[in-house]
């Protein structure tokens, strides 16, 4: 007897967000990336169309990340004092299709870079690479509210993804995204309600839902990845059942979360039983990303080129329809 897969029917699908703008669209990108749009739970091709692949974004900083593990040095030490060179290396050597530029230097406790300096870094990176760009502030609201509007203005037309907006601080970034036509990252603290509330607040300022990307806040494997997983699962189920205020694609800072865990960083000398440190870290990052992709993450922000490659391969494999999906 032939096997008939039980199929769930969904009322709706995840919204699509386009990142970047080509010359014709008023920007300078070589290509754009569309995320979201899935009409089924992750990779269940037989239940609904998954039109867009999840994307691996590579994370770069505007200042040298002195606290990163030594294992990153062989890859980035030659470029991490220069964000332009760093971005180029990610694209040219490591095949990055999307770059996340974290303006860490704007932090008053780091370099206290001025909004103008930050805007210049963004422009320089845009000039150097052709991929769409995500730009995130230093995380201190007072400073970010000065920096990000200027970045938005300087990069008008490029259709950036700018972050982050939080429930306590979303207005100035939302306004900047409206005026200069960018997308926004709406970040909520592993809370489905606040996630939705923030999306409502942003759309009530008239930024359309298809310009919002959810950052549900995730954690690394062993540090509560399952909390993020279940929030994302709820968001996805909500989206497929027609809740448009949960229907945005999602982004997660996998590299940041993983590379602050003990398991990724502890030396092999201290924990001989844990295996070689760098490989362990790479696998930790890749495993975390893999789990989150299964929960419906659309953009995984990663650090280690080898972990990124593993995940790209994993995505390729998951995006192939099987006989089962026919």
């Amino acid at each position: 007897m032939a096997f008939n897969a039980v199929k769930d029917k969904y009322r709706s699908k995840v919204g699509e967000v386009v990142l970047g703008a080509t010359k014709e669209q008023g920007g300078t990108r070589d290509y754009t990336i569309t995320i979201g749009g899935e009409a089924a739970l992750p990779f269940l091709h037989f239940e609904g169309e998954i039109p867009n692949r999840p994307v691996v974004a590579m994370e770069i900083w505007d200042v040298a990340p002195t606290d990163w593990n030594d294992c990153f040095k062989p890859f980035y030490a030659d470029v991490w004092n220069d964000p332009v060179a760093w971005a180029k290396k990610c694209v040219d050597e490591y095949g990055a299709e999307l770059i996340v530029l974290h303006l860490k230097g704007a932090d008053p406790d780091v370099k206290d870079a001025t909004p103008e300096e930050c805007a210049k870094v963004v422009k320089d990176v845009l000039a150097a690479v052709g991929c769409p760009l995500v730009v995130t502030g230093c995380g201190k609201p007072e400073k970010d509210n000065l920096v990000l509007p200027l970045v938005a203005e300087a990069a008008a037309g490029e259709n950036l993804l700018l972050g982050v907006a939080e429930q306590e601080n979303y207005k100035s970034l939302t306004a900047a995204c409206m005026v200069h036509k960018h997308n926004i990252i709406a970040q909520s603290p592993i809370d489905i309600n606040i996630c939705k509330q923030l999306n409502i607040l942003i759309t009530e300022m008239n930024l359309p839902a298809n310009r919002i990307v959810i950052d549900p806040t995730i954690a690394a494997l062993g540090y509560g990845v399952e909390y993020g997983y279940s929030i994302m699962e709820r968001a996805r189920n909500g989206a497929l059942q027609g809740d448009t205020m949960l229907g945005m694609p999602m982004i997660g800072n996998v590299g940041y979360e993983v590379w602050r865990t003990k398991e990724a960083n502890a030396s092999s000398d201290d924990f001989p039983g844990w295996g070689e440190q760098e490989n362990r870290g790479i696998l930790w990052e890749a495993t975390t990303a893999m789990a989150l992709l299964q929960a419906g993450m659309n953009v995984v922000v990663m650090r280690h080129p080898k972990a990124s490659n593993l995940i790209k391969q994993n995505i390729e494999e998951l995006m192939v329809k099987t006989s089962f999906d026919e």
Partner: protein, 633 residues
């Protein structure tokens, strides 16, 4: 050590207190009540007094405003009397007794309550005229047995009891009246207690006292138990307020040495004062009151009986007793007939008390097919949902925000409280209406609900309750605790500028979120949808003034048609009254105490989830408020 005398002005009352007593307690000892939300912790900054003569020992400045400090005021709770003092109490610091709003207007509907609840007059206590057969050498049973058997012929109860003091006088009473006597018998819990025996036949009826002990206010009715008529009613503040505004602070106070005693004494004093007022309006004496029925939340019932509420506060939240025994008035110090019996409504759980059982009784929800939701918003939000087949209750810690607690200019619903607000969305100009149409001194619950609704409509706050600092009006300004919105400028108010701060809004959002989340949790537990609720009854003094449309607009109450809502006022005291007048109602109350299922919200994550989704205007899930979505279009 010698007592210290503190003379309070302008009342010119002198308190003689122990060395080191705080001025707050000294004032309380002579019946002067000051505003004291924090219960003497020095954190609410409201019990301001001016010392005219002598110097108190000021423990700490506490939370006192710079302006008050500069004008020489101190916090009464932080100032200890160490020498003779003369202290002036400014009007703003007083809890004004005469401003308690009672629902006098409601009194006329009592007969309907009665019929609506389907009970007939069959009071718990009544007077029986008896003519006993004279004893003789052949018919020689004792006086008491003689009385007992005569009573047994009149009432359906075998177990007839008498107290020792009553028994001592019995022989003479019987003989003085030539074996004709009038006995007052209270029949409760399957046993008839002789409260009084009078010589001869009198026509005076038995009287009863129905009391609702609220955390904030206490209400009492004086009833003629024979006709069922309410002779008069009175309300006042619970004197326990001196020891804190909410049940938690009171419970904490109950665990300090002498604290339980103080709280017990305070509530007895409060009730005795009400009794004096009630009696002054009628021609009966305190001895004529033979039965008292008390309904209060679990903690209040404990404190009334001087039972420790300590374990109610601590996980797993266990009350000492849900069903409490009958006690004699003299044991409690209640100034009614010393032999009078005092009965308390049973509690369901630590935070669902006799007041709720009383409310469920008067609404008759346990006898109807339709599904009723009873919401009692006091210091806690307590709710019962159900019908004749099932009843479920929850208590959610809404906090005292709707009673004015934790709100910068919050106050109870009394004269001068802003109860209605309207705001021009273009100019942000505000118009307010106060209770008694006097200059505003603060904002009460209904005004606060109005504020949330109108602030959101005018764009002063966003859906998350955040003040929008960028709106163009001088009313939006940076205060001591961040942004604040000036509701009433000081020149139009009876105080400083009346403001609503970001923190106030947070507290209100939490309070409304907790109530709504409690309703959702109950519905979820019984797998019902909101629209299946046939009737919503709003109880509590605060409930008299809420605007339903605003309350729905902020997501406090479910989005149901307004005709499903009814305000029932103080259902607790009405239930107590009903139980006094009907044996059946009293038994039903005992049954309800056992029948209502308690849903503990702190168990599991569902409530938290519901709560966070309710921290939004009106709610994260807008589909729960379809009428609002329709209005927006």
């Amino acid at each position: 050590m010698d007592k210290i005398s503190v003379r309070f002005l302008p009342d010119n009352l002198i308190a003689n207190v122990e060395h080191g007593t705080s001025l707050l307690l000294a004032a309380a000892s002579v019946g002067l009540e000051l505003k004291s939300n924090c219960g003497g912790d020095g954190t609410c900054g409201r019990c301001l007094v001016k010392v005219q003569e002598g110097r108190p020992n000021v423990k700490s400045e506490g939370s006192i405003s710079l302006k008050a400090k500069q004008s020489g005021l101190v916090l009464a709770c932080q100032a200890a009397a160490v020498e003779n003092l003369v202290v002036d109490i400014p009007q703003e610091s007083r809890l004004d007794e005469h401003q308690v709003l009672l629902e006098e207007k409601d009194i006329l509907v009592e007969k309907d309550d009665f019929l609506a609840a389907g009970y007939s007059l069959n009071p718990l206590c009544r007077k029986i005229k008896l003519t006993l057969s004279e004893p003789s050498l052949t018919e020689n049973i004792s006086d008491f047995s003689r009385l007992q058997s005569a009573i047994r012929n009149e009432i359906d109860c075998h177990d007839v009891r008498i107290g020792l003091s009553m028994l001592k006088g019995l022989a003479e009473v019987l003989r003085t009246g030539d074996w004709r006597v009038t006995v007052t018998v209270a029949q409760l819990n399957g046993c008839a207690e002789i409260i009084n025996v009078e010589s001869g036949h009198t026509d005076k009826p038995a009287y009863g006292l129905a009391v609702d002990i609220g955390t904030t206010t206490v209400a009492a009715y004086l009833l003629d138990l024979e006709s069922g008529v309410t002779l008069c009613q009175k309300g006042t503040y619970n004197k326990q307020s001196t020891y804190g505004d909410d049940v938690i602070t009171r419970m904490i106070h109950a665990s300090v040495p002498k604290g339980l005693r103080e709280l017990h004494t305070a509530i007895i004093l409060t009730i005795n004062q009400l009794i004096v007022e009630l009696l002054s309006q009628s021609d009966i004496s305190s001895d004529d009151i033979h039965l008292a029925m008390v309904a209060g939340n679990t903690t209040m019932t404990h404190l009334f009986l001087e039972l420790t509420p300590r374990y109610i506060r601590l996980e797993p939240y266990i009350p000492l007793a849900s069903f409490v025994p009958l006690v004699k008035a003299e044991e409690l110090g209640l100034k009614i007939n010393p032999a009078a019996q005092v009965a308390c409504f049973p509690s369901v759980a630590s935070y669902v008390g006799g007041d709720i059982v009383s409310g469920a009784l008067i609404t008759n929800m346990a006898k109807r097919e339709e599904i009723t939701l009873l919401i009692d918003i006091g210091t806690n939000g307590e709710m019962v949902l159900g019908n004749e087949d099932w009843l479920i209750s929850v208590s959610c810690s809404a906090g005292p925000a709707f009673e004015g607690g934790g709100i910068t200019f919050g106050m109870r619903a009394m004269k001068g409280a802003i109860e209605h607000v309207s705001i021009d969305p273009e100019t942000f100009e505000v118009e307010v209406t106060t209770i008694g149409n006097v200059k505003a001194t603060g904002i009460c619950g209904s005004g606060l609900i109005d504020c949330l609704a109108k602030f959101h409509r005018a764009g002063i706050i966003d859906r998350a309750g955040k003040l929008q600092a960028d709106i163009n009006t001088s009313r939006m300004r940076q205060g001591d605790d961040g942004w604040e919105f000036v509701l009433v400028w000081s020149d139009e108010a009876d105080s400083a500028d009346i403001v609503v701060t970001e923190n106030d809004i947070k507290n209100l959002m939490r309070a409304k979120g907790a109530v709504y989340a409690g309703i959702r949790s109950m519905l979820k537990a019984v797998q019902l949808e909101e629209e299946m609720i046939d009737k919503v009854l709003i109880a509590g003094g605060f409930g008299n003034y809420i605007n339903i449309r605003d309350a729905v607009a902020i997501g406090l109450f479910p989005d149901l048609p307004p005709e499903k809502y009814t305000f029932i006022g103080n259902s607790s005291v009405k239930g107590a009254r009903l139980a006094l007048l009907s044996q059946e109602a009293y038994s039903e109350a005992q049954e309800l105490g056992k029948k209502i299922t308690y849903l503990e919200l702190s168990n599991g994550n569902d409530f938290m989830d519901e709560f966070v989704s309710a921290l939004f205007l009106p709610h994260t899930d807008m589909s729960l408020f379809p009428s609002l979505a329709a209005n927006n279009d």
